[in-house]
Structures are given as structure tokens and as C-alpha cells.
């Protein structure tokens, strides 16, 4: 009897799994508006101001969307969009190539950051005057993965430095503490985050921004092939609303900050000057003549870096990787 009950439970579980698979319908339509859960890839942050603005100003609701922000990991967002469980996610450019290498059918449809926001931060007395000076040095990185690692490898490659010429130390996301505590002299971080915090703490340092040396695709919006073929209109509306939010945040940083206070719980308790500086720096990375456009050269550069590192094994067709059709 016990065995029979267990078998029934197992069959019920398998049935539920199967139902879950069959019954997947990413956007939920409710009162004629589409509920969208949007994976952001990071914790609530002032950098997401364009999306907060788009919600607050009603750009998303006017387009028929009800947005719920999801602050889970970037890789989870890619997997969920790839599996068609969600229609959109915000991810960094390299993730699209890594995902497509594994057969995940995601497509980059809107460039949010125009330049790769990763930088090498070296203490002023570390003796780094040019990127070639990094050879032989120990560099603290969150780990040999993700945007920081890929950005650093791209920078080293530009200077003709091999990974074996430097010592990479995995320090987790503790770059500020590592510099402040004296454990590291050189770290890799986001230009609109760690340098601002270090400056606030009175440290002198030099920056070597990856974007000054090589153009790479940075954070943007992805969708999947199925949504592109079956629901291009929804993508158009979503991108349009996002671009309106982006443009408004660029033109009205003060108001964007005030709006973000409603979405980022701890923002009001943080140093206002520092947070506004982070926003101002981020805006510099968003600005461009044609908001949302992707540059094919940036994708080719990224592909070359990933091939060199060995994170992808073959060249991918970049027409499958990104498209500008929804931002034109």
C-alpha cells in the first residue's frame, strides 16, 4: 500500500512537471495589461533609474505592461528567457554569446549601456601608469567569470598581456574593502560603483576603463527567438517604453533620482551626493545619438575575446545574437 502511494506521488510529480512545461505562457494578461517580471541581474540600485522612470511616468502602463522587477542573478534571467518562461531580461552583452554557445536561443534587442562599464582600479602608488605596467602584477577580481573577468581579459589582450603574465586573485565582490584594507593594490570593478565609493573614502587611484581601449556590448535587454517570431509587437512596445524611460532619465537626472527613491528601499539612507554621482556617471555610459542601438564591431570584439579566452569554441552568427530591428 505504501509503495503504491509512493508511486502515485511520483506520477503526480511527473504530471505536474509536464503540465508546467506545457502550460508555459510567459506574459500574463490581466485586465488587458500584460504582467511582465523583469530580471534585472543585480540588487535594487540607482543605476536602474530609466526603468523606474518608465514605470513612474506611465510609459510601461501606457504600452500595456505591468512591470514587476526581479533582482535575481543575471544568469537566471538568461535561462528563464531562453526557456521562454519570461519574455525579457536585462543582461550584459557577453552573456548572450555564452548562452548561445550552449544553444540557448536568446537575442539582444536593446543596448542600454553604450560602453562596457568595467575598469581597472589601481592605487595611485601602485606604479601603474599605462596598461602595459599591469604585467607581473596581482589583480583582484570577483572571480574568473562574468563581466569583470571578460573586461579585464579584453584590456590585457589590447596591451598584448597574457593571463599568465599577471596573477589573478579571486576576491569576490569585495573590491572596495580589498583596496581600503590594503589586501589589494589593483582591482577590477564597475566604473560607476567602486571608484565612486573609493573616492568618497578619500583614496587616490588611477582608472583604466575598458571602453577607452576596446568597444564591447554592455548591459541591455534580451528576449528569445520564439517571442521575436510570435510576438514582435509586444517587443516593440516594451522597447519603446524602455527607451522613453532611458531618454527621460538622461535628460532629468534630478527627477530620476527622486523617482528611484520610491523603488530602491535603502537609497534614502545612502549618501545622496555619492548616489547622484553614480547616476551621473552611468548616464555618460547611456548617452548616444541613437539610443538602444548595438554596434556590430562591439559584438565582433566580444566574440574575439571570448574565443581567445576559450569561453566559446566557435564563431557564432552575430545576426542571431543581436538585432536593431526593434530600436529603429
Amino acid at each position: 500500500m505504501l509503495l503504491r502511494n509512493k508511486l502515485l506521488c511520483l506520477l503526480a510529480l511527473i504530471f505536474l512537471v509536464a503540465c508546467g512545461k506545457v502550460d508555459q505562457s510567459p506574459p500574463i494578461e490581466k485586465d488587458q495589461s500584460i504582467e511582465i517580471r523583469l530580471p534585472m541581474g543585480y540588487i535594487p540600485n540607482i543605476q536602474y533609474a530609466p526603468f523606474y522612470v518608465a514605470v513612474e511616468k506611465g510609459y510601461f502602463s501606457d504600452a500595456g505592461f505591468e512591470i514587476e522587477f526581479d533582482y535575481s542573478f543575471e544568469t537566471d534571467g538568461v535561462a528563464l528567457v531562453g526557456a521562454n518562461e519570461l519574455p525579457f531580461a536585462i543582461v550584459s552583452g557577453e552573456q548572450v554569446l555564452l548562452a548561445r554557445e550552449q544553444g540557448i536561443p536568446v537575442v539582444y534587442v536593446m543596448a542600454w549601456f553604450q560602453d562596457y562599464p568595467i575598469t581597472v582600479i589601481s592605487k595611485a602608488d601602485a606604479g601603474i601608469e599605462k596598461i602595459e605596467d599591469l604585467a607581473g602584477k596581482t589583480i583582484g577580481i570577483p572571480g574568473p567569470f562574468g563581466a569583470s573577468y571578460i573586461g579585464l581579459r579584453a584590456l590585457l589582450s589590447e596591451a598584448g598581456i597574457l593571463e599568465s603574465d599577471v596573477v589573478l586573485e579571486s576576491i569576490g565582490f569585495t573590491q572596495v574593502e580589498a583596496i581600503a584594507g590594503g589586501q589589494s593594490e589593483i582591482v577590477v570593478g564597475y566604473i560607476n560603483n567602486e571608484p565612486v565609493q573609493l573616492r568618497d573614502q578619500g583614496f587616490d587611484f588611477d582608472l583604466f576603463s575598458i571602453s577607452d581601449y576596446v568597444q564591447l556590448p554592455a548591459n541591455g535587454i534580451i528576449t528569445n527567438e520564439k517571442t521575436i517570431s510570435e510576438n514582435p509587437d509586444m517587443i516593440n512596445k516594451f522597447i519603446e517604453a524602455s527607451l522613453l524611460g532611458l531618454a527621460y532619465a538622461i535628460d532629468h537626472p534630478e527627477e530620476a533620482y527622486e523617482i528611484s527613491l520610491k523603488f530602491v528601499e535603502s537609497l534614502a539612507e545612502q549618501d545622496e551626493v555619492v548616489q547622484k554621482e553614480i547616476l551621473a556617471l552611468s548616464i555618460e555610459y547611456w548617452k548616444t545619438e541613437k539610443l538602444g542601438f548595438s554596434n556590430i564591431q562591439a559584438w565582433e570584439n566580444m566574440q574575439n575575446v571570448l574565443l581567445e579566452i576559450g569561453l566559446i569554441s566557435k564563431s557564432l552568427d552575430l545576426e542571431d545574437v543581436f538585432t536593431n530591428q526593434f530600436v529603429e
Binding site: I14, V17, A18, K21, A79, L98, G103, I104, G143, F145
Partner: protein, 269 residues
């Protein structure tokens, strides 16, 4: 006696034969779920894909390299955790007053999630082996401490009287009475601690590392290589099982005197 031995051997053989059967059944169910759900490999790979990834990781030496790093951290953490917890446990078992003073802090320390303080430990002790060993030892500490106290307190007062009547000194009471009496309970804590220590090492490697099975999981996730994630997870399971089995084996050898007669017969066979 022979019949008892024979019956027990038979029952033990039945027990062991169930393990491969349930293993094969689990793999078949796994295949069935993938087939039924038509899952892509990055969502749920088939057992075959995981097996091929395992062979590849074994061939290029990466799996063994990461496995040995994590095992080193686990063993280091276990050693430090067992030493500090059993030392403190001895002091607390001997002194009720000290226990009353310390226990609120010890219990409170257990409510601190290690995953939350792991980044701080990486900052304080660096991203190398030390921080991982400390994280493991923190996780191991509590079960060993509690079991040491319980073990030592379980020594009957009559036996203390007997030792004192034989003019035993403090060291003799400790080595001939207290340690043997506490060992059975201490081994129970050690078995729990060994499996928890594996979790500790992975938590540390998640936060900041460039080697180890936790790092391998991070790499697998970062590259959408779910088969690699499965390989690393199964390796961790294997490590925890191997540690648990080794401790049970040592326990059986060391504590033969403490076994029930039928257990002793089984152990001898």
C-alpha cells in the same frame, strides 16, 4: 551463533543490493522527466550528458584538481572545528557556571547565517585557504560542541567514584574514562559535522575563489553549462558520503567495545 551471523549477513546483502536498484530507478525517472518535459540541456540535462561531462572533466584533470581543493578545505575545517569545539566542550562540561555564561552567546552565534558573514571572512582572512577553513570550522563547531558536552555529562558518577577509589589522577580519569565515554556521542557529532563542512567549503568558494567544487558550480552557471553544475554537485555528494562512511568505519573500529553483540558480529564479518 552461526545462524544469527548468517541471517544478519543475508539482511545486510539485501540492504546493499537496494542501493544500485534505487540508483538505476532514479536515473530512469530522471530520463523520463527530461523526455516528458522535453527540457533543453541548460534547464535539465539527461544523465548521459552529465556522464559525458563527468568523463571530460576527469580527462582534463579539472575535476580532480577542484575536488582535492575542496577536500583540503573540508578536512582543514573539520580539524580546526573539532579541536576547538571539543576543547571548549570539555571546559563547558566541567563547569556549569562557564556553560551558563557562554551558552547564550554560543546559541546566538548559531543563528548567524554563514552565507551572510562569508564575504566578511574573505575580507578579513583573504581569499585563500584560511577563510574557507574558518567557514567550515564555524559550521562544524556547534554539533561537535554539543555532542562533546552531552558525551562527557553522560559518564555515570559511579565510574568517577570507582576511578577515584583506584587513586586515578586527573589525566587518567580524562584518558581512561571521560574520553572513551564521550567518544560514541562525539562520533555522532563528527558524522553530522563532516557533511556540514562540505557545505561550508562550498559557501566560501561561492563568495570568492578560483578553485574548488563551489567555484566549478559558479563557472558552470556562468557558462550555462548545467551538466558541469550537476557534475560538481554529484562530486560534493560523493565527498560527503565518503567522509560520512570513513567516520563510521573509524567509529566501528574504535568503539567495538561499545557495540551490541549482534553489531559486533556484523562488524567482524
Amino acid at each position: 551463533m552461526d545462524r544469527v551471523k548468517k541471517n544478519m549477513n543475508g539482511s545486510r546483502k539485501n540492504h546493499w543490493s537496494l542501493i544500485p536498484i534505487t540508483g538505476i530507478l532514479s536515473i530512469l525517472i530522471w530520463y523520463f522527466v527530461v523526455w516528458l518535459g522535453d527540457f533543453q540541456a541548460f534547464i535539465l540535462p539527461t544523465p548521459q550528458l552529465v556522464w559525458l561531462r563527468f568523463i571530460r572533466s576527469l580527462d582534463d584533470g579539472s575535476l580532480l584538481r577542484h575536488f582535492s581543493v575542496t577536500l583540503g578545505e573540508v578536512m582543514g575545517g573539520l580539524a580546526v572545528g573539532v579541536f576547538t569545539a571539543s576543547s571548549l566542550g570539555y571546559l563547558l562540561a566541567r563547569s556549569r557556571k562557564l556553560e551558563r555564561i557562554m551558552s547564550p552567546y554560543i546559541v546566538a552565534s548559531q543563528s548567524v547565517p554563514v552565507v551572510a558573514i562569508a564575504p566578511l571572512l574573505i575580507i578579513w582572512f583573504g581569499p585563500g585557504l584560511t577563510s574557507k577553513v574558518i567557514i567550515c570550522s564555524l559550521i562544524v563547531f556547534f554539533p561537535i560542541l554539543i555532542n562533546t558536552i552531552i558525551g562527557l555529562r553522560s559518564v555515570p558518577e559511579d565510574l568517577y567514584d570507582l576511578m577515584r577509589s583506584l587513586q586515578a589522577n586527573r589525566w587518567q580519569i580524562f584518558s581512561l574514562l571521560e574520553v572513551p565515554a564521550a567518544l560514541p556521542v562525539l562520533f555522532g557529532g563528527l558524522r553530522i559535522g563532516a557533511t556540514l563542512s562540505v557545505i561550508g567549503a562550498v559557501v566560501g568558494e561561492f563568495v570568492g575563489a578560483d578553485r574548488g567544487l563551489g567555484f566549478l558550480i559558479n563557472v558552470g552557471r556562468g557558462q550555462y553549462d548545467t551538466s558541469l553544475v550537476f557534475v560538481a554537485v554529484f562530486s560534493l555528494v560523493f565527498m560527503a558520503l565518503a567522509l560520512y562512511g570513513s567516520i563510521t568505519l573509524i567509529e566501528n573500529k574504535l568503539l567495538k567495545w561499545n557495540m551490541r553483540p549482534e553489531q559486533r558480529i556484523l562488524n567482524d564479518t
